[in-house]
């Protein structure tokens, strides 16, 4: 009868559904578990290479150099879970930092310059959202386009020179809160807030739902376009915050700020177990992956590995993490 088209597999008699899995199984198949194990391994190996690694202060100072990227990766995780992607935030960081630096260099008061930078970031997120949501274009193409566009605008604005940052605004990474550099504090706080939002609110849950099945989400009355708009605006603003923090850390801004860092952001999300096709992933996963990445790359630097080899290792890491996540999800999904 009409079952001909897509009849589900017939029930095995007496067995309506799979038995529940034991708890250890549930924990083991979480992709974050793999990230955590890798992180612990990384710390052990790195501390063998250099005793500095047993100094928590050293790790924190190293992490401060990547905290801006990691901050954006947290929001990117949510964008990917929703079934989209944004490859433009590194370019966004450069353009908003350039706008901020240019404004304060031309005499705009610092708070106003910061606000200008943030608004620029919001606008860039809005442009991405417009093309993806209103024009219905695939986000990967749109954000590759705007990645080039934003970087190009930054170069037009700044030219080849560095724009110096006013003395009073330099050194965000040297501000310590209970011994922890401010960018790291910002990252940790953001991770906590976003983890609560993604894991505990309707907004967060609907992100998973639209990433799992957008058509079904719409049929259940979920306004997926509104959620995606919010996400693109969020990642725009957060990229601007990251850009301005980077400007403060470096003391000057060039158009090539955070050049190529979008890949590192994607790497963090993937390593943390975010599923590239949407619907799965967590903030704690990306949080752990960010630390893993810093430990691995700092460890390689300490071990005097050539940058080219470091790149190779990161590339392999990305591919392995994608294979692992896919494998885990396909095993748990049948």
């Amino acid at each position: 009868m009409s079952a001909a088209e897509t009849s589900p597999p017939a029930n095995v008699a007496g067995r309506e559904s799979a038995p529940p899995r034991p708890l250890w199984h549930l924990v083991l198949v979480r992709p974050e578990t793999l990230t955590l194990v890798l992180l612990i391994l990384g710390v052990i190996v790195a501390s063998r290479l250099s005793p500095y690694f047993l100094d928590i202060g050293y790790i924190l100072r190293s992490f401060a150099l990547s905290a801006e990227i990691a901050l954006v990766a947290l929001v990117l995780t949510m964008v990917i879970i929703a079934g989209e992607i944004d490859l433009s935030p590194a370019a966004n960081m450069a353009l908003s930092a350039c706008i901020f630096a240019w404004a304060q260099a031309s005499g705009v008061p610092i708070p106003l310059a910061v606000l200008l930078g943030l608004l620029a970031g919001l606008a860039m997120g809005g442009v991405n959202a417009f093309f993806v949501i209103v024009m219905q274009l695939p986000s990967i193409i749109v954000t590759i386009g705007t990645l080039i566009l934003y970087r190009g605008l930054a170069q037009i604005l700044a030219g080849d020179r560095s724009i110096r940052i006013a003395e009073g605004f330099i050194g965000v990474d040297r501000i310590l809160v209970l011994g922890v550099p401010l960018p790291v504090v910002v990252f940790v706080l953001a991770a906590i807030v976003l983890a609560l939002v993604l894991g505990g609110t309707i907004f967060g849950r609907q992100i998973y739902q639209i990433g799992t099945n957008e058509v079904a989400a719409r049929h259940a009355g979920i306004r997926s376009r509104r959620i995606k708009l919010i996400l693109f605006l969020m990642i725009g603003v957060v990229a601007a915050i990251a850009g301005i923090m980077t400007a403060s850390r470096l003391g000057s801004v060039r158009y090539d700020l955070a050049l190529g860092k979008e890949l590192e952001m994607v790497l963090m999300a993937m390593l943390g177990g975010t599923y590239i096709f949407g619907g799965r992933g967590t903030i704690p996963g990306t949080f752990l992956a960010a630390w893993l990445l810093v430990v691995v790359s700092t460890g390689m630097t300490v071990a005097n590995l050539l940058p080219a080899i470091q790149m190779t290792v990161l590339g392999i890491l990305l591919i392995v993490s994608i294979i692992a996540t896919n494998f885990i999800y396909s095993r748990t999904q049948r």
């Binding site: 088209e5 609110t201 079904a216 049929h219 009355g221 979920i222």
Partner: protein, 512 residues
């Protein structure tokens, strides 16, 4: 099995199928079918949706392999393992909307998959174009073979498919509902070509719902019902009424009839709802406590009407009133706020979140209830979903397991549970029992009856006539995007519904 005419024919049939059965995932869709196709005849396959006629055609064309049974071609047993083998044997299936490469030219599409040349031999452009032109001349159609496929009308694309069949010298050409997307003129052209092919000694299998077309074109008909062959007759032996009776003549299953309920005020009213190309001037109403059945063939526009009312793909014009008040529904969200609920036909596509928990699936449409202050309260969520699971008897291991692990029937119950939590006034059910085991179906019928009894208005779309007849207070029938009939429960019958559902059959009433 075959009519008396068969006895007078001593010629070996082109195709002789014996004992063909087919199961999909344990469900039998074709049962022990014997069928002969003669050289140079046009043979119609008729039956309701899901009767097995298309499955049979696809087995002949190598798309599906039979579970049991044999096929002989010109008296020799053959193994039609796949469409390529079928083509080599001279069997071609013409799809309703031909599958082609829209950006390649007509000539390129004609030779695709048939090239004898090696991978790296140059493309013989000139010869290709010449051959393609010759084929078009042979068919007597005027199609520029150098233009891309994309620019062609569906009728012309079908011609290209037929030309492909001729190019590989097919002896058997199967047309699966070829006329549905065509205009009357195009149908005439197609028929002219079909008759010419017959006169050349080719055999054509013609699948259609339109009886007058079958009558105009075909020599013999074979009628399918519920996966069985009911019979093969020459077309002149049967009246239209006979054909309809044979198509639906199964004994009416004894379903629990819907309990008589108090019928209240109008809850849903649509007037002149129109979405060009899908449906036109649809007007009807559903009262509280009433189940209104919406019957018709697949593609008649029933699902489109439901999707329009629910805001998935809104109508272009017309009005919708909920509880007497005019409603603006642009998104499903709006519809839900107005007390509408919609269980879609395609569960996997539009219903479930496969990898998410049953619990999350059930509470997806009531975010405000599980998160009163922004944060999700697990205890509330658990209470709501487990109550729904209990009342609908969803069988599962744990409410936290992914819904994809449940059987189809239990997934469907979970979707119904989702909508019960919104406490809807109007419930639209689109093929709610599709792909569900018989036992669970009966449970659904009980639930649907109870929902009506609790004062909800229900619009039930179903292709299963016994289901419609058993549950509905009133039955509406759609055909080709229009409402063609309305019957109160007492007056409805399978024959009447089928008559109204079969396109352009308005005159068949006299024949009965």
């Amino acid at each position: 099995m075959t009519g008396p005419a068969a006895l007078s024919q001593t010629q070996v049939p082109l195709i002789s199928a014996r004992g063909i059965s087919k199961q999909f995932a344990g469900v039998e869709v074709l049962r022990d079918v014997d069928l002969d196709l003669r050289v140079g005849e046009i043979h119609a396959l008729l039956g309701e949706n899901g009767a097995g006629k298309s499955t049979f055609a696809k087995i002949l064309a190598g798309v599906h392999r039979p579970t049991t049974g044999t096929i002989a071609l010109n008296g020799e047993q053959v193994e039609v393992a796949n469409p390529v083998v079928a083509q080599r044997l001279g069997i071609t299936l013409i799809h309703q909307e031909p599958i082609s490469f829209p950006d390649l030219s007509v000539a390129e599409n004609l030779v695709l998959g048939r090239s004898e040349d090696g991978w790296f031999s140059p493309v013989p452009w000139a010869k290709m174009t010449r051959d393609a032109r010759a084929l078009m001349d042979l068919l007597g159609v005027d199609i520029d073979v150098t233009q891309p496929m994309r620019g062609l009308s569906i009728a012309d694309q079908q011609m290209v498919e037929i030309a492909r069949a001729l190019a590989s010298d097919s002896r058997l050409i199967i047309m699966d509902e070829p006329t549905a997307p065509l205009t009357p003129r195009e149908v005439e052209t197609l028929f002219g070509i079909a008759r010419r092919l017959r006169s050349e000694g080719r055999t054509i299998v013609f699948i259609s719902h339109r009886l007058e077309e079958v009558r105009a074109l075909c020599d013999r008909v074979t009628i399918f019902r519920d996966g069985n062959k009911v019979g093969t007759h020459t077309i002149d032996e049967l009246t239209d009424a006979d054909i309809i009776r044979l198509m639906i003549g199964r004994p009416l299953k004894e379903y629990l009839h819907k309990p008589r309920t108090e019928i209240g005020a109008v809850a849903l009213e649509v007037e002149n709802l129109t979405l060009p190309g899908r449906f036109e001037a649809i007007s009807f109403s559903v009262r509280r406590g009433e189940i209104v059945g919406l019957g018709g063939l697949v593609g008649a526009g029933r699902t489109d009407v439901a999707r329009a009312i629910f805001g998935v793909a809104p109508a272009l014009s017309g009005t919708i009133r909920i509880n007497g008040k005019q409603a603006t529904i642009r998104e499903p969200d709006d519809a839900i706020a107005l007390g509408l609920a919609f269980v879609p036909e395609d569960r996997a596509q539009a219903g479930i979140f496969r990898s998410l928990s049953v619990e999350q699936n059930i509470t997806a449409a009531v975010p405000a209830r599980i998160a009163p202050r922004g944060f999700i309260r697990r205890s509330v969520e658990k209470a709501l979903s487990s109550e729904a699971i209990r009342s609908l008897r969803v069988r599962l291991a744990s409410a936290r397991q992914p819904i994809g692990e449940l059987s189809g029937g239990n997934q469907q119950k979970a979707i119904l549970a989702r909508w019960l939590l919104t406490d809807p006034t109007v419930l639209i059910l689109d093929e709610p029992t599709r792909g569900i085991d018989i036992g669970v179906k009966a449970e659904f019928y009980d639930r649907i009856g109870e929902l009506a009894a609790s004062g909800r208005a229900i619009l039930l779309i179903s292709s299963e006539l016994p289901e419609l007849l058993a549950l509905s207070d009133r039955i509406l029938v759609m055909s080709e995007g229009r409402l063609t009939a309305e019957f109160p429960r007492a007056e409805a019958s399978q024959e009447k519904i089928m008559k109204a559902a079969v396109p352009r059959s308005a005159t068949l009433g006299e024949a009965a």
